[in-house]
């Protein structure tokens, strides 16, 4: 059940500059009656894509592997359908100044990288739509085509799992003895 390791991303970026993009925007609730996790990319930002100016329907959007979004991306519900939809659309990373906690966890568990930049670097990326971006997951850097490079923080365990395609469930199952010991300690 090993996932594909994610060590670097080299792709054009798509910019959605709005702040506080909530998971209801990423995938509206009316699409959540599915029992599948595959094929949700067609519902990504479904309500936004009715606007003719929406960059997600630009012919270039299909090649974009990086989403640059405003502050506090992924707030709201715990629906993992949000990262599933973004990944299926083609994104491998989302860049913002901050992420909601549950979204960040859900993203990393599915191999979608979250890149948290300081506001100045973030502003630069917000104004660089369609530009090629290079992300080094191991070194935690984002590089633009003009050579400017920015560092980002990444939880060491999340990085370990992303870079090595670690399956966290298998990791947890290895703790069976500790879990049993804990349960015994509580009943005694």
């Amino acid at each position: 059940m090993k996932r594909q390791p994610l060590t670097e991303i080299h792709a054009p970026c798509l910019v959605l500059p709005a702040d506080n993009i909530d998971t209801d925007q990423i995938i509206p609730a009316r699409f959540l009656t599915t029992t599948e996790s595959a094929g949700l990319g067609r519902y990504a930002f479904a309500d936004w894509r009715e606007n003719p100016d929406c960059p997600l329907d630009d012919p270039r959007a299909g090649d974009c592997g990086v989403l640059i979004a405003g502050d506090n991306f992924g707030c709201g519900s715990s629906r993992e359908h949000a990262p599933w939809a973004l990944l299926d659309f083609g994104f491998r990373a989302v860049v913002s100044t901050s992420f909601a906690d549950i979204f960040r966890q859900n993203a990393h568990k599915n191999g979608l990288l979250t890149v948290q930049l300081d506001p100045e670097a973030h502003r630069k990326l917000l104004t660089s739509p369609w530009e090629d971006v290079h992300i080094d997951v191991v070194g935690c850097t984002v590089t633009l085509s003009d050579g400017s490079e920015y560092q980002f923080p990444l939880d060491p365990f999340a990085k370990h799992c992303l870079c090595n395609g670690i399956d966290e469930l298998a990791y947890l199952l290895d703790f069976e003895a500790e879990i049993m010991k804990y349960e015994e300690s509580r009943t005694s």
Partner: protein
Amino acid sequence: MTQVPSTLFDKIWERHVVARGVDGRPDLIYIDLHLVHEVTSPQAFAVLASRNLPVRRPDLTMATMDHSTPTEPMDIAGGWSGIDPQAAQQLQTLCENCERHGIELFGPGSTHRGIVHVIGPELGRTRPGMTIVCGDSHTSTHGAFGALAFGIGTTEVGHVLATQVLLQRRPKTMRVVFDGPAPVGVTAKDLALAVLSRIGVDGGTGHVIEYQGPAVRDLSMEGRMTLCNMSIEAGARAGLVAPDATTFAYLRGRGEIPEGTEFEPMVQEWRGLRSDDSAVFDKEVVISCQELAPMITWGTNPAQAIQVGGELPILDDGNREAFAYTGHAPASTLLGSKIDVAFIGSCTNGRLEDLCAAAEVLRGQSVAESVRMLVVPGSETVKRSAEALGLDEVFRAAGAEWREPGCSMCIAMNGDFVPPGQLAVSTSNRNFAGRQGKGSRTLLASPETAAACAIAGEVVDPRRFLSTTGGVR
């Protein structure tokens, strides 16, 4: 050796560490209660099936159906006619998964079915000091009991099903102190919206919030649930209120909790679940209670809230899109804005006390001709209790629809929704663009405010409709 003062959060966390994270790894935290519903579980059960894994502790797992269930009465065959076929399949999948793994399910026809965060407490499953998770962000609700309760994604639902533990980074702590009692007419929902308007939609990110102060102590358990419920709207995965006499009175004899002499040792243990006086929090916020009033949101996130009679903010870059979507005029007032829908229900305000409060306002009054009002009890138990009090008659007589339990118009995935462009006053928790239906516009408020607005057909200060003896509830 002197004991380091610790917070309520620290105490619960420490008791649940199965394995301490070393070399930069997160802690492994044991989960005491796992709540499951139809929307975020099928893919997790599928992972277990693909790996041939059992559910490790079905006895610590409890399932219900709420999100995609219709709120129309069931037909005589015990099914929902007119249900969306995909929703029906999702419900069926949950039935099969629970059957296969021996998980208790409050399914169609169950007298205890209801919104997951309403029935956990109601059945006495939610208890102080527990760790509780659910594939739903409003799991924070259960923090009202002094339980560490937080929402998880579907991958983590699978982790808990298979192992009963979660890999978690220890969050930071934040204390929100209400510096006095709440003024008359200010409800738990107003306290929650006041906190949000103060700290913003990301003010609690990375933190667990503990609510303290007289206004919190004065709240009933139901009010505390409303307050903790909306912690996630500030980005905090969990909210906490330390258990006290109000908590113990609620729990005594509830469900399988004993009420006699066996209950006392439980209380003794729960009394220790409080933050030490000198405990240090990573962040502190003090809310001045004197200035509080009934609140209402105007924008497209729950922190865009004002006092009902207050002035909307002036236009700026941060709110331009919210004003464009909602159509309200900057620097004006919401008072007098015509509403189309009033919705009472959800895990935020769908409990008996909420329905009582709305019914008090509506008794002998009529919902305005132009308004559709939907009252959706949070559970079968809430519904029965409300009907025993005759509240259904009050709602019907006023012209409101009295529905079956479920999440309904809060998330609008069961066929109940606010049509495009319409303005709804809702007691739910999110006013995101399209949350209550594509193109819907939402004003979040308390049950009292929603009921008052329904009568007036426009946004009004609910205190016009409240008896002068009303206070915090």
